[in-house]
């Protein structure tokens, strides 16, 4: 098979990147290995586990189900951009720490990206809303209870 390269320009966490990339390279591999932003994790590579979730123009997407070339000229947000420039936690990061919402931490970046976008859209969720929104992210360690509590607590704090 002849390889087929493209120039790709995109923004990740507000920073512009330009790379030459093979057409078949997954967005997840591109972010992790070409851009060295390894905080985005890959769990299943078939769009089920949600670990690789990033935001594309503010919307959660599975970066394992997209090609890097498809992200051309789009704005991506990853876990590395979630804290403030001074390193202050996002309220959900703080709540996950306070409520022990992570154990091995491998699924955590995907959960943070999914649920921060959810909280932006749904500032006053019920527990059922949170569980529904979280149901596309698999966690094998926590049993979800503390993640749900963290999201509820973050929502409250973000409402002020």
């Amino acid at each position: 098979m002849d390889t087929d390269f493209h120039e790709v320009t995109l923004s990740v966490n507000g920073k512009q990147y330009q790379r030459r990339v093979e057409s078949r390279v997954l967005l997840s591999d591109f972010i992790r290995h070409d851009l060295a932003l390894a905080g985005t994790h890959v769990g299943c590579e078939h769009g089920v586990c949600g670990a690789c979730t990033v935001l594309l123009d503010g919307e959660p997407v599975r970066s394992c189900l997209m090609l890097a070339v498809q992200a051309r000229n789009h704005e991506i947000s990853t876990i590395e951009g979630l804290t403030t420039k001074d390193g202050e936690y996002h309220p959900l990061q703080q709540a996950m720490h306070d409520h022990h919402g992570l154990q091995c931490g491998y699924c955590t970046p995907g959960i943070l990206m999914t649920m921060t976008a959810f909280l932006d859209e749904t500032p006053s969720p019920t527990e059922d809303d949170v569980r529904e929104a979280l149901s596309g992210n698999l966690c094998r360690c926590t049993g979800y209870q503390n993640i749900v509590d963290a999201v509820m607590a973050a929502a409250e704090r973000m409402r002020g």
Partner: protein, 780 residues
């Protein structure tokens, strides 16, 4: 006074790196010149290898090498026996361990045939399609009973049968006791446990540095020290030339302790051969075949009772699916055999099992490690006994609990740690009472009746269990005060999310009077700590935790001695807190721990003979035997009687694991265990066809529970300390996962009146479709 952190819900030291995407997981390792690996794996469960031709693959641009078994020369060896069979009289055990690449025959789908090395993973996977393989398919051994019947195909021809092992253990004289019993109840049970499926799959990175004469291996293993020792031997290197690092690992749950996986053996060898760093990361499809499983057992069990429901004895004969190879010995079926006895007085026990070779992936421990199977059998036998004897299910359990004055309680048979199965301590009845109270057992029947009149189908389940935890042999820890006053703790176990960076820090912090955040814990790096066994059997906190405690105590003593010399006062007049040693009642008179550490490492002058430099100690802890934790789970479900959709309305766990180091982390361990137990009981099933093909090898088809299936849990604790270690702790890692099976069977039977309809739930996993089949075949 410094605040004591032991027993407090201290937040985790490791969280920040994980929450900000800065923690190093294995696939994050990027090295200059790194090569990537893909494996060609057998798509047939049982076949003769006729021919493998990699020549076309080698012509592909970007492919560096491809090796088959024959290319490995003397390096090709079956793996070591990881856990030898225990010393039980009359034991039969045929050791047949996995090989790096299949040579003459493949024995399960997913067994590797060729390792392909290329400049990228994409190219390596492309090259798999270039390989020409000819396999001659043989009949596959999948069904345990058929596998033992005459004329069956043989997984290992030279064994002469598919018996991997046979063990009988007895206590008392069951046959004589049963002859005098009032009631005997017999059933056949089928219990299948699934795969651990951590969200991070396995991976290996190997870097041979020819100039430094040094091999570095990053590995998602739970047992880095054993991996180092084994690989050094195989590669012809000294152990000091090999460094194994288990970085942040994204969940383990047992299968990541298996060794040696073919990939662990092959990557370092290839790195030496090509003199390039090399990486393999398991993909999710590979994980279903290339990582070990737990699977099924078939039990023919009977319980003998008096008419008032006291257990006279139990007889159990079971088959255990061991898979294609048996490197982990008999740990899983021995756990089933032992844990079946539970928290109950069982005067007579006769238990035999046969471990069967099958053409399926190898079985090794996965969270619970066979304990689930035994607990299911015992709890179900008690349910049927309660029904037939017209005794309440909670009451029949209460009548049979081991009384608190009977500890240590000797069950006489041999456990997985090769010691006699003796429970160190326990007080079981209060745990049962708390669980009954929390679930609302006393009022449930009225509630159930009331709601049934409204057309709602609620059911209740209750299960008791014990968990043997914290077994030997030993772990060690090095505790060191650094010049900046921070404390470093290093231990040899691996960590996969259990909170070791925090609980070990709490232990050291309390002894040394420093803040938990000022204790830096290192696990899983063989250059940081040389000795150890690994993370398994709910033993990290118990065994490594006690080693940290012992080492911290010695450092504390050293600090007090140094300060007393410095201040020319008695040690009794000193207090160690807030990172310094002070004279009691003289606030200005203190020395910082970091300064003391420097003082103990002078640039000039002599260090007295018999003393060691620095504020440091390495200590080891090895318990005589495992500490036995116990618990009761209770659950109320609501069933849709037409679709068999299930909703958990309430889930209660009451648990006793001795002294608690960090209740927040303990709760997390229980929550996660219960979630896996729920998956096992009702959602996760490995579906094989009769040729050994796994039909649902994707996370879209193998259903891990989501936030919608796992309910909020209500936890309660009692504390019965263990006399086996100075901190009095017992392990807790697996407890949550153990008793969900019988809870589901009971609660569903109860909700759907299945007993009245002549249906008994004798198997796990259940599912809506399985319940449909079972109720339909009963024609009620």
């Amino acid at each position: 006074m410094s605040t004591r952190t032991f027993g407090e819900p201290v937040k985790r030291n490791e969280d920040r790196r994980l929450l900000t995407g800065q923690a190093l997981f294995i696939d994050d390792i990027e090295l200059p010149g790194m090569l990537h690996v893909a494996f060609l794996r057998s798509q047939i469960a049982h076949a003769k290898i006729i021919r493998i031709d990699v020549s076309k693959a080698l012509q592909r641009r970007g492919v560096v090498a491809a090796y088959v078994a024959g290319d490995l020369g003397d390096y090709w060896q079956p793996g070591p026996i990881l856990v030898p069979p225990p010393p039980i009289a009359g034991i039969v055990f045929h050791e047949r361990t996995q090989v790096p690449l299949a040579k003459d025959k493949v024995r399960h789908v997913g067994e590797p045939l060729v390792i392909v090395i290329a400049e990228s993973r994409y190219i390596a996977e492309d090259a798999l399609d270039d390989i020409d393989v000819e396999l001659e398919q043989l009949p596959a051994v999948v069904d345990l009973e058929k596998g033992l019947a005459g004329g069956s195909a043989l997984v290992h021809d030279d064994v002469g049968s598919n018996v991997s092992a046979h063990v009988r253990q007895t206590k008392g004289n069951y046959a004589a006791a049963a002859a005098a019993a009032d009631h005997i109840i017999k059933r056949r049970f089928l219990y299948e446990h699934g795969i651990s499926s951590p969200i991070e799959t396995r991976g290996v990175v190997a870097q041979w540095d020819a100039r430094a004469n040094q091999m570095t291996i990053w590995d998602t293993t739970q047992a880095p020290v054993f991996v180092r020792n084994g690989l050094a031997g195989m590669l012809g290197l000294n152990e000091r030339q090999v460094r194994v690092i288990a970085p942040f690992v994204g969940g383990g749950f047992g299968p990541k302790i298996m060794m040696f996986y073919p990939e662990e053996v092959l990557l370092p060898w290839v790195s030496m051969k090509l003199n390039r760093p090399i990486k393999w990361i398991e993909d999710r499809l590979e994980h279903f075949f290339a990582t070990t499983h737990e699977r099924g057992q078939i039990h023919d069990a009977e319980i003998a009772l008096t008419k008032d429901g006291r257990i006279v004895g139990i007889k159990d004969v079971f088959l255990h699916d061991g898979g294609a190879y048996d490197p982990y010995g008999l740990t899983v079926p021995i756990n089933s055999q032992c844990t079946l006895l539970g928290p109950y007085v069982v005067p007579h026990y006769d238990s035999s099992f046969t471990q069967v070779f099958t053409n399926l992936p190898t079985v090794t421990p996965y969270r619970g490690a066979g304990r689930q199977h035994g607990v299911f059998v015992m709890e179900r036998l008690l349910d049927f006994a309660a029904h037939e004897l017209n005794i309440d299910p909670a009451e029949i359990r209460r009548r049979n609990l081991i009384p608190p004055d009977a500890f240590p309680y000797n069950n006489e048979i041999i456990y997985q740690d090769f010691e006699v199965l003796e429970y160190d301590s326990g007080n079981y009845e209060p745990v049962l009472d708390m669980a009954l109270e929390a679930i609302g057992y006393g009022t449930f029947k009225d509630e159930q009746t009331r709601l049934r009149a409204e057309g709602r189908h609620l059911g209740i389940g209750l299960a008791c269990y014990v968990e043997g935890t914290g077994i030997g042999p030993y772990e060690g820890a090095k505790v060191q005060v650094q010049s900046n006053g921070k404390v470093s703790v290093a231990t040899g176990i691996g960590t996969q999310g259990q909170g070791h960076f925090t609980v070990f820090a709490q232990i050291a912090a309390d002894q040394l009077g420093v803040a938990v955040v000022d204790v830096d814990v290192v696990t899983g790096d063989t250059d940081q700590f040389y000795w150890g066994a690994g993370t398994f059997a709910s033993r990290g906190a118990v065994v490594a935790g006690n080693a940290v405690n012992e080492a911290s105590k010695v450092v504390r003593k050293k600090a007090l001695k140094l300060a007393s010399d410095l201040f020319e006062c008695s040690e009794e007049d000193l207090v160690i807190e807030d990172g310094k040693v002070s004279i009691v009642g003289v606030p200005g008179k203190f020395v910082k721990l970091g300064d003391l550490a420097n003082h103990a490492n002078p640039m000039r002058g002599a260090v007295e003979p018999g003393t060691e430099p620095g504020l440091e100690s390495t200590q080891y802890f090895g318990p005589k035997m495992g500490a036995t934790a116990n618990g009761v789970h209770a659950m109320i479900v609501e069933m849709d009687p037409r679709t068999f959709d299930l909703k958990i309305l309430k889930y209660v766990v009451v648990h006793d694991c001795g002294t608690v180091i960090n209740p927040m982390i303990l709760a997390g361990q229980i929550h996660g265990g219960v979630a896996q137990g729920i998956g096992n009981a009702f959602y996760e099933k490995l579906v094989f066809d009769d040729q050994g093909q796994l039909l649902n090898a994707s996370l879209a088809d193998y259903l891990l529970p989501t936030a919608l299936e796992v309910p909020r849990m209500e936890l309660g604790h009692t504390v019965t300390t263990s006399p086996l270690n100075p901190m009095g702790i017992k392990g807790a890692g697996e407890a949550g996962a153990i008793p969900a099976g019988p809870l589901f069977a009971q609660a569903i039977e109860d909700a759907l009146d299945l007993k009245g309809r002549g249906v008994e739930l004798l198997e796990i996993p259940l599912s809506p479709s399985r319940l449909f089949e079972l109720t339909r075949s009963a024609r009620v």
